[in-house]
Symmetry: C2
Amino acid sequence: MALIVQKFGGTSVGTVERIENVAERIKKFRDRGDDVVVVVSAMSGETNRLIEMACQIEEKPNAREYDVLLSTGEQVTIALLSMALNRRGVPARSYTGTQVHILTDSAHNKARILDIKEKNMRTDLDQGKVVVVAGFQGVDEQGDITTLGRGGSDTTAVALAAALNADECQIYTDVDGVYTTDPRVVPEARRLDKITFEEMLEMASLGSKVLQIRAVEFAGKYNVPLRVLSSFDEPDFDADGSGGAIGTLITYEEDEMEQALISGIAFNRDEAKLTILGVPDKPGVAYSILGPVGDANIEIDMIIQNISADGTTDFTFTIHRNDFESAKAVLTRVANELGAREVVGDDKIVKISLVGVGMRSHAGIAGKMFKTLAEEGININMISTSEIKISVVIEEKYLELGVRTLHSAFGLEQKQG
Amino acid sequence: MALIVQKFGGTSVGTVERIENVAERIKKFRDRGDDVVVVVSAMSGETNRLIEMACQIEEKPNAREYDVLLSTGEQVTIALLSMALNRRGVPARSYTGTQVHILTDSAHNKARILDIKEKNMRTDLDQGKVVVVAGFQGVDEQGDITTLGRGGSDTTAVALAAALNADECQIYTDVDGVYTTDPRVVPEARRLDKITFEEMLEMASLGSKVLQIRAVEFAGKYNVPLRVLSSFDEPDFDADGSGGAIGTLITYEEDEMEQALISGIAFNRDEAKLTILGVPDKPGVAYSILGPVGDANIEIDMIIQNISADGTTDFTFTIHRNDFESAKAVLTRVANELGAREVVGDDKIVKISLVGVGMRSHAGIAGKMFKTLAEEGININMISTSEIKISVVIEEKYLELGVRTLHSAFGLEQKQG
C-alpha cells in the first residue's frame, strides 16, 4: 500500500485499446490497495495533428492560443482514461492543468511549474478515487492555459509526486528501463536496476533520451524516487522491493551502489566540431568567440582551449551537427575580427561518454578508457571530464566499435557490485 | 458601431481555410468599428470523432468525463480562430467556458446556463480585442466542465449577447435565413426579413431546423435581437438597417409586421399516428393512456380526443415515426387494461402547419386553409390549432402538393405588408 504517481506517454495511450490496457494496469495497483495518481500525455499523433493545423495559419502562431490548442490533446486522454476506469468499477476523476491548479509562470509553450494545489487530489484519494491529471499543461495567475513544452508530462508527474509526497513516481514508456548503453549498438547492454539522479542527468543529456532532463532534475531536487518502466510489460507484484514494477529506479546514491565504477555508456551521433586556430591569447578571448555563437542561438556542448604557445591559442568546441554551417560562418567572421589564423571544422565526429558515480573514488578509469580505445586503433580528438563522466570525441566511423569495446572492457554486461 | 455577438457553427469552421474566412469576416466588422464577441462550435466532424472514441469504451460513458472530452472540440476552434485573427493584426483572445466563467448547473451533457461573468470580456472589448468564446460548454460550481447538449452553441451566443446587452446576436449557418417554407419543396419560397420569436419557435419545433429552440426561447426571454444568416455570403454593410448583415432578423412583434397574416409554412415528414378506439370515458382516462407512453420515453406531439358517444371515446395522438412500433405495443397493452375496443395506427402521415402572428387578429385563416386543401382533394385526418398556428395531419403522399398549394394560396412568394 503506497501512493504512486504513474505517467503514461503518448505511445502508451496511442489508441483507445491501449488506454483500456492502461486502465487494466491501474486497476491492478488499486486492487492491491495502492493510491494512484495518473498523468497522461496526448495520444500519439494528436499533438502533431494540432500543430499541423496551427501551422496552416502561421508558422509561429500566437503563443497563448497555441497553448489553448495543444492542451486539448491531453484533455482528450484524461477523459477517455477516466471513462475506461469508471467502466471497470474503479472510481476515477479527471483534471486538466487548470482544474488541479498546476500554477506556472506565464512563459507560454515553455512554462515552469510554481505551485500545485493538492487539496482536491487528496480528497479524491481519501475517497478511494484514482486521480487522472493532464500532463504537460498548467495555468498562470491570469487563468490562462500554459504548456510546459514538449515532453513536459514527465515533469508534471514528478511535480505531482513531490507535492503529494508520493512513495514513487513511475514513468511508463516504450522502453523497459535505463540500459548500460543503447541495445541497438551493443546487444549485450544490460538494464540497470538502479541509477543515481546525477548519472541519469549525464546519461540523458548525452543522448539516452529516456526521460526529460527537467523531470530528472526536479525529481533529484525534491528527492522523488523515479522509476522508468515499460507500459507493455505486466506489473510483477512479487518482484523483490520493486513496488510491483520492474524497470530502473532513479534515486540518490546508496552504499550498495558504491562498488559500481561505471553505470553506463552514453553517446551522441549528432556532433560536429569547430576549431579557431592561432587566436591572439588575451583576456576575454573566450567570450569574444563564444558570445557571437550563442547570439546566433547555437548551443555549444564541449569547449576546449589549449595552452598558449607563441602568444596565440587554439580554441575548439562541439555543436549539434545541424548548426555546423551557420556556426562556421559566424566563427569565420569572428576569426577575421580577432586576427586569428584559420577556422577548421569536422562534422563527422561523435562523442562517447562513460558515466558513473564510482569514478569519484576510483582512479584509473580515464586511463583504462584511453588505452582500450587505442588498442582498437581509435584516435581521440578531444577529451572532457567531470566528476562522474569522461567524454571523448572520435571519428564517426568508430562509434559502434568504440562503444562495444568499452562496454565489454568495463564488464557492463554483468551485474556489478 | 455596435456590439455584436457572432456565432459560427461546425460547418462554417469545418476546415482551417474556413476558419480563415471567418477571421476575414470578423475583421470587416472590426474595421467598421464594431465590437465583436465570437462564439464557435467544434469543427464539423470533430464532435463525432470524439464520440466515436468514447463509444469504443462504453455506450453510455461517465457523464462528467464525456463533457471533459467533448469540450475539447470547441477549444481547438477558439485557439485556431484567435490565431487567425491575431495574424491579421486583429487582437483576439480565446476563452473556454471555464475561463469566461459560463456558470451552469451540474446536469452533465445537458446543462443549463445560470450566470455569465462578463468582466473579462468587457476589459478585452474596451482594449479593442475580439473575444472568442467556446460554445456549447460551461463550468459548474465545483469547477467541473459541463456541456449544454448538442447544438448548444446557439444558446451560448444568445446568453452572451444577453449578458453583454449586445445590439445583435448573429447566428451564421449554412442557410441564409428563415424561409416561408422549405425551398426544396417550394422553389418560390422567400426569405423572411423579419419573424417574431413566437413564430420562430413554432417554425423550429415544427421542423424548420435553423436554430435551436432553446436559443430562440432564451433570446425572446432576454429580448436579444437574433439574426440568422449564411457564413458563405459576403457581409453587405450598405444594406439598409441590416447592421451589415442580411439574413432573417428574429425580434419582437412590431407595428409594420401586423399586416402579415402568415409568416411561413412548416411541415414534418416523420410523423405517425395511433388511435385507441372505444375507450370507456371516465375521468383520468387521458393520463392512463399517455402516462405509459411517456414512461416508455416516447414523445407525443398532437393529441386529439373526440367527444364521447355511447359512454366511450376515441383518443388519437401523433408521435415520431421511429417510435411507431414501440408505442403501438404500449398502447395495445393499455387498451386491454382499459377495456378499449381497438388500436389502429398509420405511419404514413405528415403534418403541415401555417404559422403567423397575424392570425391573432384575422379570422378565416383556418377556413381558407381547409378549403385550399379540399380543392386539391387532400383529406384532413387531424386538426390542431394554437393562437398563431394551425396544423393539419394529412396522408404522406400529399405533402408536397399541400405545401405548394398553401404557399401559393396565401401569397407567401410575395413580400407582404
